[in-house]
Structure formats: structure tokens, C-alpha cells
């Protein structure tokens, strides 16, 4: 599958990360890297620590050991607000949309880092604030068009079916024009048609905007189709890393999934 932009050098790397919740070791010395413009998948059986890894990457959880390297800059641990300003955006496993707002407002909130006006200019609706609001509205409309959700633009988010809410969350993440997009099981609970749409959107995003994608996914079919490289986690440890073909054949991965007794 040829693509818009060639895969670049290492953009994001994690070394020896360990995370524990009161004795329970969610992550145990995990290291892997992500190249820029790549679609990097993280797979593994339930409870393998996939979501925790994602939460470490974008600063929601703070690991006890290990380091995170982003564009050569080194971090003891990431704080979520800082991660956002570095251009790391994410979606959540069980949807974290703002129920009190419409689809359009939810996506516009994604652009808050790019807004410059202070609250006084906005209160008096001065020229600068008005123009800024219009600029960002135009950018958001491109994304709405891109993800084909024009018809629900003004609906309150709470009223939308599951599949559409997932798409709105992707739109909000895209609104921040991220360099890295962390997707936490974007296709969980979707029917076949919705899954195909979401795959198409993810590939379009990677292709059109050149965004690096880190994807947690259970559906092996999807993982094999759209990811360039795969990391396999099991009980908080990395047990395999490579292209989908390599990983699929790896005995340790098969055991992990089929539940062979652990050493």
C-alpha cells in the first residue's frame, strides 16, 4: 500500500517504563519506539496493560520507572496538559465527550491550544476574537467534512449513537492538528460497516495529514490490514515487536492469546 508520506525516523520512544497501582504491576519495563508518519499498533489480551501504556504516553498516569523520549526531548514522565501542547492527542476507550455541548462545540474545544484571544476580548466580542472564532470554525468545518458528520453538526452529543460519538471524538482529537494521535480501541463495539468507515478515516488521517498513529486494537484483521508495525504486550511485559507478519507467526504471541501457562 503506497502512501502519501514516507515513514521517518524515531518520533516517540519509551524505555524501561514500569507502572504499578499499589502493588499491582500494570507495566513492567516496557520499551518500544514509534517512527513518524507510521501506524503503530499495540495489541495483547485483556489486562495486558495496553490502555495503561497509552495513559503513560499522554501523561494521565505517571510511571514509577523509565523514560519517555519525544522528538529527542527526554521526560521523566509526561503531564497530560504538556503532552497536548507537544501535539499528542488521543481518544478514550469509553467515550469522553462533553455531554453538555453540541458536536460542533466539542470539536471547537479541541482547538483551544490554538486560540490566542484572552477572555476580555472574547467578552466584548472584539474584532480579533470574532475573526479568531471564524478562522477556527472554518478549520473545524474541514474536519467535519473530512469525517462526513455534517448532518449532526448542531446535535447535542449525548443524543448520538455510539458509532457517531466515536467519530466526533476522533474529530475533536484531529482539531488540535496533532503530530501523534493515540487511539484507544477506536472500533470497540462497532458493526462491520462502522469499522470499515473508521479504518478508512484512520488511513485517510495518516495519509492526508501525515499524523503518526498509535492504535490499540483487538480485531486482528484490522491490525493486520492497517498497521505498519505491532507491539505485543502480555501481563505488562513486551513479548513481541515487528511487522504484522512477523508478530502473527511469533509463538509467544500465540501462547499469550491462547492462554498457555506462564513461566
Amino acid at each position: 500500500m503506497d502512501r502519501g508520506r514516507p515513514i521517518g525516523e524515531v518520533l516517540l520512544a519509551v524505555e524501561g517504563v514500569s507502572l504499578a497501582f499499589g502493588g499491582v504491576k500494570a507495566l513492567n519495563g516496557v520499551s518500544f519506539d514509534v517512527y513518524s508518519h507510521e501506524v503503530r499498533a499495540i495489541i495483547g489480551p485483556n489486562g495486558a496493560g495496553k490502555s495503561s501504556m497509552l495513559n503513560v504516553l499522554n501523561g494521565v498516569y505517571h510511571p514509577q520507572q523509565g523514560r519517555i523520549r519525544f522528538r529527542g526531548e527526554e521526560f521523566r514522565d509526561m503531564d497530560s496538559h504538556h503532552a497536548a501542547s507537544l501535539g499528542i492527542a488521543r481518544t478514550f476507550q469509553n467515550i469522553a465527550l462533553f455531554k453538555g455541548m453540541s458536536v460542533l462545540d466539542n470539536i471547537m474545544t479541541g482547538r483551544n491550544l490554538k486560540m490566542r484571544c484572552n477572555f476580555l476580548e472574547q467578552a466584548l466580542w472584539l474584532g480579533r476574537a470574532r475573526r479568531e472564532e471564524r478562522e477556527h470554525r472554518r478549520a473545524v468545518e474541514q474536519i467535519i467534512d473530512f469525517l462526513e458528520i455534517q448532518h449532526i453538526r448542531k446535535t447535542p452529543v449525548g443524543r448520538l449513537p455510539y458509532g457517531l460519538q466515536k467519530r466526533v471524538e476522533l474529530a475533536r482529537a484531529l482539531a488540535a492538528e496533532p503530530t501523534v494521535l493515540l487511539l484507544d480501541e477506536p472500533m470497540a463495539g462497532m458493526n462491520l460497516e462502522e469499522k470499515q468507515d473508521m479504518c478508512r478515516f484512520i488511513l485517510d488521517v495518516n495519509d492526508h495529514y501525515g499524523t503518526t498513529i498509535v492504535l490499540i486494537e483487538h480485531d486482528m484483521g484490522v491490525v493486520m490490514d492497517i498497521s505498519d508495525r505491532v507491539v505485543v504486550l502480555d501481563y505488562g511485559r513486551k513479548i513481541a515487536d515487528g511487522t504484522p507478519e512477523q508478530v502473527r507467526g511469533d509463538q509467544k504471541v500465540i501462547d499469550a492469546y491462547l492462554g498457555v501457562a506462564h513461566a
Partner: protein, 297 residues
């Protein structure tokens, strides 16, 4: 030094009074996650009903029993009309509902029994005990001791009720997770009715104690405001926390009143308890005994 001990002892006894009121909040919060702002007005209603019945010549025990039944009914009525329809609303909505309830209860009480303050006499002298005051000149009244005793008994009964009995176990299950409790067949509405009835009883006891000490009048409703810092310190879910919190607040308030007050112009008891609670919260947001709140994403 002696004076300091006396101030602390007085503070502790005042603390007991706070704990009594705080207990009512804890029971309801433990079982339904509702911070019942109306507990204060329930205390006022209970005291007012009891003292009005006494003045009408009823004998003490009869008045006590009738008020007791009245409070249980009021508790159940509140649960039925206000709490059940708002069952899974956010806590902020439930708090506002109980504030509304406060106004209703105050209106009803004053409507039924008029709004003049009443003295309340339980036949227990509230005069400092002579031999204690001469020897270590600590003037603690028999009433203070009685109040401490009542508080102790109440706590013991409640502790036994919640830990050991079947209802207690059901109560703690409901407190953790309504859906799960329902799933295992615990009759949620039934439990909540009991909970509110118990809260009604605790309100009555608190009402009596406060009634004797400061007389039965409108100010009683503001005991809720007094109980808030206690709950902050002790944590909303723990009975032990309510007692310990009450004592700490009582003592520190008295000490501050005596030592700090003069420099600042006195009258600081209105806000001092809050400042302590606030400082405490910044250190341990979940209070003394509450569990740590973890935001799972």
C-alpha cells in the same frame, strides 16, 4: 495550665454535640451518597415537636415515643417523595434538593408549633459539678457527661448495627454500589427507608441535646453548617470519623476562641471550623478515614 485543660475539655464536650449532629449526615451519605443538608432542620423539627408536646402536659417518655415515631415517618416520607425520583442524579442536584427540603421542614415546623423559642428541661442539671470544680476547678456539668454518654451509646449501637447485623451488611453494600446491591436482591427502597428512619432518630437525640444546651429555636437548623467541617475532617462515610472530627473541631474552636479570639476581635467561631477543615482538605482531600479517590480513565 489548668485553664488550658478546662478550655480543651469544654471544647471536647461541645465537639460531642457536633458529632451527634454529624452522625445523622454520615448515616444517610453512607447509604445513598446524599449529603442531606436538611439534617439540621430535622434536628430542629424533632426538638420543637418534643418540647411542644411536653408543654402540652404529655409525660416525658410518651412525648419521646411519639416524636420518635413522627421522626421515622418524616424520614420515610422524605425518602419516598424526594430521594427516590432523584435516584441517580449527580450529587450537586441531590444537595440542592436537600437545601429545598430544609426550607420545607422549617416552614412546616414553624407552621405547626409556632416560632417562639422554648426552653427544654430534661431534669438533668446543667450546673458544674461541685467537687470537680473545687479540686481541679474544671466545671463540667452532669449534663455534659450525660451528653457524652448518650453519644457513646449511640455510636456503639450504630457501629454494631452496621458491622454485625444483616441489615448493616446490606446497608454497607448499598453504600458501595447501588446497582450491585440491587443485583444481589437487596431491596434498595426498603434499605433507604430504614436509613432515613435511623437518621430521623439520630436527629431527635441531637435535637434533645442541643435543645437543652441552647434552647429550641430557629438557630438549630444551622447545626448543619456546624456539622459540615466535622464531616470534612472525619470523612463523609465513617461513623468513627464523625466522632473524632467533632471532638477535634469542638476543641480547636474553643482554644482558638479563647487564645486567638481577642487579638482578632472575637466571634471567630463562625468561620474558624471551616478554615481548619479547608486546611485539612488540602492535605488529605478525602478526609481522615475516607478512601482515596482514584480517577480511572
Amino acid at each position: 495550665m489548668n485553664f488550658f485543660i478546662e478550655v480543651v475539655a469544654g471544647g471536647l464536650l461541645a465537639g460531642v454535640m457536633y458529632s451527634l449532629v454529624a452522625l445523622g449526615f454520615v448515616i444517610i451519605y453512607k447509604a445513598s451518597g446524599v449529603f442531606n443538608f436538611a439534617q439540621g432542620s430535622m434536628v430542629f423539627f424533632a426538638a420543637l415537636t418534643f418540647v411542644s408536646l411536653l408543654e402540652r402536659g404529655w409525660n416525658l417518655w410518651l412525648a419521646l415515643a411519639v416524636t420518635m415515631v413522627a421522626m421515622v415517618l418524616v424520614g420515610m416520607l422524605i425518602e419516598r417523595t424526594v430521594l427516590r425520583p432523584l435516584v441517580n442524579q449527580p450529587p450537586i442536584t441531590l444537595l440542592m434538593a436537600t437545601i429545598g427540603l430544609t426550607f420545607v421542614l422549617e416552614g412546616v415546623s414553624q407552621l405547626m408549633w409556632g416560632s417562639q423559642p422554648h426552653g427544654l428541661e430534661l431534669g438533668i442539671p446543667d450546673v458544674p459539678i461541685e467537687w470537680l470544680s473545687e479540686k481541679w476547678n474544671i466545671n463540667i456539668s452532669q449534663f455534659d457527661l450525660f451528653a457524652a454518654l448518650v453519644a457513646g451509646v449511640l455510636v456503639a449501637v450504630l457501629a454494631v448495627l452496621t458491622q454485625k447485623t444483616r441489615i448493616g451488611r446490606a446497608l454497607r453494600a448499598v453504600a458501595d454500589d447501588h446497582q450491585a446491591a440491587l443485583a444481589v436482591g437487596i431491596p434498595l427502597q426498603h434499605i433507604w427507608a430504614i436509613v432515613w428512619a435511623v437518621a430521623g432518630f439520630v436527629a431527635l437525640v441531637a435535637g434533645l441535646m442541643w435543645g437543652v444546651r441552647n434552647g429550641v429555636q430557629y438557630a438549630l437548623t444551622f447545626t448543619a453548617l456546624k456539622a459540615l467541617p466535622v464531616l470534612i475532617l472525619g470523612g463523609f462515610e465513617s461513623i468513627a470519623g464523625a466522632i473524632v472530627g467533632g471532638l477535634i473541631i469542638g476543641a480547636s474552636e474553643k482554644v482558638a476562641e479563647v487564645y486567638l479570639g481577642p487579638y482578632v476581635g472575637g466571634g471567630i467561631e463562625s468561620w474558624f471550623a471551616y478554615v481548619i477543615a479547608l486546611l485539612f482538605l488540602l492535605v488529605r482531600p478525602e478526609g481522615l478515614f475516607g478512601e482515596k479517590i482514584i480517577d480511572r480513565v
